[in-house]
């Protein structure tokens, strides 16, 4: 990228600087640590110069936004054309309560919806299942049937606003409920836009809300990709996630590598089904974490775009849209402290800024109280305002990829790509993603990183303000969201009445047709839609699949 003569003179100058100026300063004032490392363990130098990126070619490696390899962004104008979507993950209690929270957030400027489901729902259990006891509505909204879905989106213009749903094991069923609920309101599926997370590989690796074993789960996912391709073209049928992998303890490099490895695995699975890569690739989306090390996160996002574009080309994608990495970001939940919770706002601000400078398409900012409970109204409002201030007051959205060209950021982007590639090679050696999961490879890497991180914190090498430095005695005095305990009882009652009202023979028929189809290899979506429309519950539908597919048991890795 630079003239050779110029580089030589810079090299000479740097040498002198190190031997004279730096030495002088180190004598006066030793540096604060032996070495400075990112959260992935990458050593950060004192200074970066053109020498550190001398081998990069601007056009080939960095390029222009909206053009291969998309390092600087997937759109030519990025936020000058359209800001990222303000999309706050929400849900708790009953469908009514969450519907209210949706309306509150929309009224305060949120531009996209994101649904959090409670644990029973995530595992495909209705609220009246024994395993659901005590879990109703505690970490998300309970949806046990189409009826709940209808209430959840009452008065919300789902034809004008996109909805992201964090659901994995029973994703196909929940998606079917969303589609059915919209159709009942006269909104055709062709106009529905949104995302289902539907990323089972990371469940095995990190989030653990899996139900069925890998093979049938992949089949279901490809079924949804295929169905979406044909009938719900504006829908992102998968959100390939690194967020949870990071939360489980992975480093930024691991997050990058494991997420993309999962992504390529899904692409290969869809290709094996015979689907045309250029037809489904544009609807693949991603979901990343935005953690504390500011520049590492930005480099991670840029490296992700470049790695994905290159990899997709190799897999045979020809259209440009197939190479785009579109992603949603959430600021790191695991970085929030229960101590001095107000200061979480600052953490979230920096993390959100990193996501924006990294070119995210959609963003969720955590609320200050989330190390203690689900967000209160006030806390989530502050989180939303954080995004709005970055968007409108900071000026960072006035130009595309402002950090492009920074010697440090370009160097780090390159480094992260290299480190990720190393992981790709390891995974290949192990036989691919699924064999690696079965061998416990990812889980081991993550457990090691988690333990190492904790030890660094315990030794004081990694400072967490309020936790191992600047600690104070405090009375935590912030309003805590309470989930109405009565809701569980009401929900169980609602289910009972639903089962009385509905046409049970229709339910039985649709469930048994689903069973037969699941035993074969037809696309299951139409069958699931039928079940859902007959008001078969989430649990009843999932149970059919549990029967046919079996349930997954994980290897235990510390």
């Amino acid at each position: 990228m630079y003239d050779r003569k110029e580089l030589e003179s810079i090299r000479e100058r740097e040498r002198r600087w190190n031997q004279e100026r730096v030495k002088e300063w180190l004598k006066k004032r030793p540096e604060r640590a032996e070495s400075f490392r990112t959260l992935s363990g990458i050593e950060v130098k004192r200074l970066y110069t053109p020498l550190d990126i001398e081998d990069l070619d601007y056009s080939e490696d960095i390029g222009f936004p909206g053009e291969y390899p998309f390092t600087r962004g997937i759109h030519a104008t990025m936020y000058r054309g359209r800001l990222w979507t303000f999309r706050q993950f929400s849900g708790f209690g009953t469908a009514e309560e969450t519907n209210e929270r949706f309306k509150y957030l929309l009224a305060h400027g949120e531009t996209g919806l994101s649904v959090a489901f409670d644990y029973p729902t995530l595992y495909g259990y209705d609220t009246d299942h024994p395993m659901a006891k005590g879990e109703f509505g505690k970490c998300g909204v309970a949806v046990s049937s189409l009826e709940d879905m209808e209430i959840l989106f009452k008065d919300i213009p789902v034809d004008k606003i996109t909805t992201s749903m964090t659901i994995n094991g029973p994703a196909a069923i929940i998606w079917a409920m969303y589609i059915a609920a919209a159709e009942k309101r006269g909104i055709p599926k062709e106009s529905l836009g949104g995302t289902i997370q539907n990323d089972i590989l990371k469940e095995y690796i990190a989030q653990k809300s899996y139900i069925f074993p890998p093979e049938p789960s992949m089949r279901l996912i490809v079924d949804t990709i295929e169905y979406g391709m044909k009938y719900v073209p504006k829908w992102n049928t998968i959100s390939i996630s690194g967020y949870h992998i990071r939360e489980a303890g992975a480093t930024a490099v691991q997050e990058l590598a494991f997420t993309l490895a999962d992504g390529f695995e899904y692409v290969k699975a869809a290709i094996s089904r015979g689907l045309d890569i250029d037809k489904f690739a544009p609807r693949l989306s991603f979901f990343f974490n935005a953690h504390n090390n500011f520049f590492e996160e930005i480099a991670k996002f840029r490296a992700a775009r470049r790695l994905w574009a290159r990899g997709m080309k190799e897999l045979g994608a020809k259209k440009e849209r197939s190479l785009w990495m579109r992603f949603h970001t959430q600021t790191a939940g695991c970085s929030l402290t229960a101590q001095q919770p107000e200061i979480n706002v600052i953490r979230v601000t920096l993390q959100a800024l990193a996501a924006v400078l990294g070119g995210t398409q959609s963003l969720h900012t955590n609320s200050l109280d989330e190390a203690l409970a689900l967000p209160s109204e006030k806390a989530v409002r502050i989180a939303l305002r954080t995004q709005q201030i970055i968007a409108y007051e900071s000026g960072v959205t006035d130009t595309v990829d402002p950090l492009g060209g920074s010697y440090y950021v370009e160097w780090l982007t390159e480094r992260m790509e290299e480190e990720a590639q190393r992981y790709f090679d390891r995974i290949e050696e192990l036989g691919g993603v699924i064999p690696a999961i079965e061998k416990g490879f990812f889980q081991r890497e993550i457990a090691e990183s988690a333990y190492r991180y904790q030890q660094e914190v315990e030794r004081g090498e990694r400072v967490i303000v309020g936790v191992n430095r600047y600690v104070m005695d405090e009375e935590i005095d912030i309003p805590i969201l309470r989930v109405d305990e009565e809701g569980e009882r009401r929900q169980i009652e609602r289910l009972r009445r639903l089962k009385e009202r509905r046409d049970s023979s229709k339910v039985r028929e649709s469930l048994s047709r689903l069973k037969r189809a699941a035993e074969g290899d037809e696309n299951l979506m139409p069958y699931i839609l039928d079940c859902v429309k007959s008001y078969a519950t989430l649990g009843e539908t999932t149970d059919v699949l549990r029967e046919v597919f079996g349930v997954y048991k994980e290897p235990i890795i510390f």
């Binding site: 061998k439 048991k553 235990i556 510390f558």
Partner: protein, 309 residues
């Protein structure tokens, strides 16, 4: 102590658990309990299940136990995992695979660390087997990790030893290295739905032809629940054969001999390490060895002389 033993004999799970803990801590008062317990033991079929890490022993044992339960038999499981030689702690995770058994009152599962036992199984494992036996369990399964000489000694405690392998060259070699080939009464090739299962079976059979000791090879897929019926048939056949040929008595004698020595050694060790007066004199002897005044063998003579006095 007697009361604890009586309760354990009646099947009281807290008493059983407490006795096993006392065995683990090397409590000398355990003797009183074992006086009552031992005569009532000996009925159960003790099955050792070993193999290198990752072959699916725990899942297999869970499936075996479920089948035994279907047959109306009660089951005790002792899962032994390595204790860290550096920290003295242990992560005992075998139970995770046995969740389906967790609510069954007729199944008792105990996780035990090797607790610094350098070779073979500690006396406590023998005690645990006796206690579970006496409390009425029909089947007792001892699970150990086959990592070298240490766990080959599972044969000393088991009537029937099952060695588990999985398809894949690496594991096979490891199993051979661990010396596990010689000790098997039954081989299990688990995860047999994987490619390579047939060749693993063939390799086993060739090896056995060479050593002229043929034992049954059973293919299972524990996660699918396949092959377990067949395995139990072989296990039962083996037990029957032991009884018919009188080999059972020989093996039991070997078990008790090993156990006796274990207990004696344990007590000796305790005396040397823990008891005040010995600690001092041993400490003094060690100082003299280090200073070159005394050689270790002569020092040992002094210790033994002191102990035997």
């Amino acid at each position: 102590m007697r009361e604890l033993a009586e309760r354990a004999l009646r099947g009281d799970r807290r008493a059983i658990a407490r006795l096993i803990s006392l065995a683990e801590s090397g409590s000398e008062s355990l003797k009183e309990a074992m006086e009552i317990i031992h005569p009532r033991a000996g009925r159960a079929h003790v099955i050792g299940v070993t193999g290198v890490m990752g072959v699916g022993k725990s899942t297999l044992i869970c499936e075996m136990a479920l089948k035994y339960r279907e047959m109306g038999k009660s089951v005790g499981i002792v899962a032994v995992d390595p204790t860290s030689p550096f920290t003295g702690g242990a992560l005992l995770g075998d139970r995770v695979r046995m969740n389906p058994l967790a609510s069954d009152g007729e199944v008792f599962i105990r996780s035990m660390g090797t607790r610094g036992k350098l070779g073979g199984l500690s006396g406590a494992v023998y005690d645990a087997v006796e206690i579970l036996d006496a409390s009425g369990k029909d089947i007792i399964i001892v699970e150990t990790v086959g990592v070298g000489q240490a766990e080959v000694d599972v044969i000393r405690i088991a009537d029937t030893t099952v060695v588990v392998l999985v398809p894949g060259l690496g594991d096979f070699i490891q199993t051979i290295k661990a010396g596990l080939m010689e000790i098997a009464d039954i081989f299990v090739v688990n995860k047999s739905d994987r490619p390579g299962a047939d060749s693993t079976v063939n390799e086993l059979k060739s090896m056995m032809e060479i050593s002229e000791k043929m034992v049954p090879v059973v293919c299972t897929s524990a996660t699918e629940g396949e092959g377990v019926d067949e395995l139990l048939v072989e296990v039962e056949n083996h037990f029957q054969m032991l009884k018919d040929t009188g080999e059972l008595e020989r093996r039991r004698r070997r078990r008790y001999e090993t156990e006796l020595v274990e207990i004696v050694m344990g007590r000796l060790k305790k005396m040397i390490y823990d008891e005040g007066r010995f600690r001092e004199s041993v400490g003094e002897l060690v100082r003299r060895i280090t200073d070159g005044e005394l050689d270790p063998h002569s020092a040992a003579e002094e210790v033994l002389a002191g102990l035997l006095r």
